[in-house]
Symmetry: C2
Subunit: 207 residues, 2 copies
DNA sequence: CTCGTTCGGTAGCGATCGCTACAGAAATAA
DNA sequence: TTATTTCTGTAGCGATCGCTACCGAACGAG
């Protein structure tokens, strides 16, 4: 592959160099889409926040939709990574989920950035069906990931044999998405910590 | 009051009568705002679904925002009334909330109308701040209503004296809003019924 | 220097947004 | 009948939407 490419390394940049920081501009886009969602964030809003003009945005990121997809990927690798990291930072699904719910309580109400979860809130009421479907499948995939995590613990004997992993995963996903919504409605971290505690009380008792 | 109004009854209609059913048109508007949200529903979408032209819409309902407010009121008195009715249909807060959560599982996934709750989903990512704030205060008011319902039961001795009514109300509100989101993501009624059951397991045991 | 290449800014495309001026149509009042 | 009132449909307002043609500016290569 790449037989027609004479250079070993990545090509030396030719032509006029980019005059803005692509990463910083992407971070601005993350903030805007996080705060206002996909549709409500206009290209004019984006270029104003990034300090660039539309042709620069389109040259660097493609169109609005591909920029949004890059924003989603960036979010998942930064702010959004806090949750799976908490989940996998404990030896059992139960402890991991408890830690994840508390991490969400802190993350969703952090005053350093918009409230709630970008993956949950940015494509509600989105007329571009493919974008909405994309993030929906991300959310549903996260629920299925929870389910297999719980199922593995049941198989390993960490949870009672009768545990309904699928139902438990949907419950946790529901609480998480609800926490995102409540955070956007102004719920405090302390309130969401209590929500996390209540949710864990629903967990099946050790047999 | 109304001293300048010579007629006792409502005035006899004068001029050309309205050629469409105002209630039916409003029901169409409810369906559209419910499905697509406030901003993503255009006046062109509304007039097309109602079978009327823009001037008729503006004459009958004012502007888009006042139509939406009428839609919200209509929703609260019809589909949305199922939840408070379930809550108040039981003698205790605990039983009422259990019944309400199961009613939400059925209502939010009813194939006869859009999924989820209009009050929860229609103003996420809404640039018209006053509209967003309005529905946010409806949601927060519903949580406070849950809280005072629980608090009354604690005072009446139906719940243990140490019960944190505020935290419990936020938890139930979080689960409800999460159920709405999950329903819009395609969750089935059976799945949400299980979510309701899990949520009730978190309820403090009788002392 | 002169190329070739890439980026930046101006300026504006066609489409859609919420909304309305205007005139004809359909009712009641006299 | 004529006058008054209210609704309907056409047609289009100014603003904003996502997006881009164009050309000068800024770089490395020769």
């Amino acid at each position: 592959m790449a037989a027609d490419q004479p250079h070993e390394q990545s090509a030396v940049p030719r032509g006029r160099p980019r005059s803005f920081d692509r990463e910083a501009a992407l971070a601005q886009a993350v903030a805007l889409f996080w705060e206002h969602g996909y549709e409500a964030t206009s290209v004019a809003d984006l270029t104003a926040a990034m300090g660039i003009r539309p042709p620069s945005l389109y040259a660097a990121f493609g169109d609005k939709r591909s920029l949004f997809e890059e924003v989603v990927a960036s979010y998942q690798q930064t702010h959004g990574a806090v949750l799976p990291r908490a989940l996998n930072g404990e030896p059992t699904a139960r402890a991991g989920i408890a830690r994840m719910l508390h991490a969400a309580a802190a993350e969703y109400t952090d005053p350093a950035h918009p409230w709630g979860c970008l993956l949950t809130s940015s494509t509600v009421n989105c007329t571009t069906r493919e974008v909405e479907r994309e993030l929906r499948s991300v959310r549903n995939g996260n629920v299925r990931a929870l389910e297999s995590r719980i199922r593995a613990d049941v198989a390993a004997g960490h949870e009672p044999p009768g545990t309904d992993a699928a139902a438990l995963a949907v419950f946790v996903g529901t609480v998480l998405q609800g926490m995102s919504q409540r955070a956007r409605d102004g719920a405090t971290q302390a309130e969401l910590e209590q929500v996390a505690d209540f949710a864990m009380r629903a967990w099946p008792e050790q047999a």
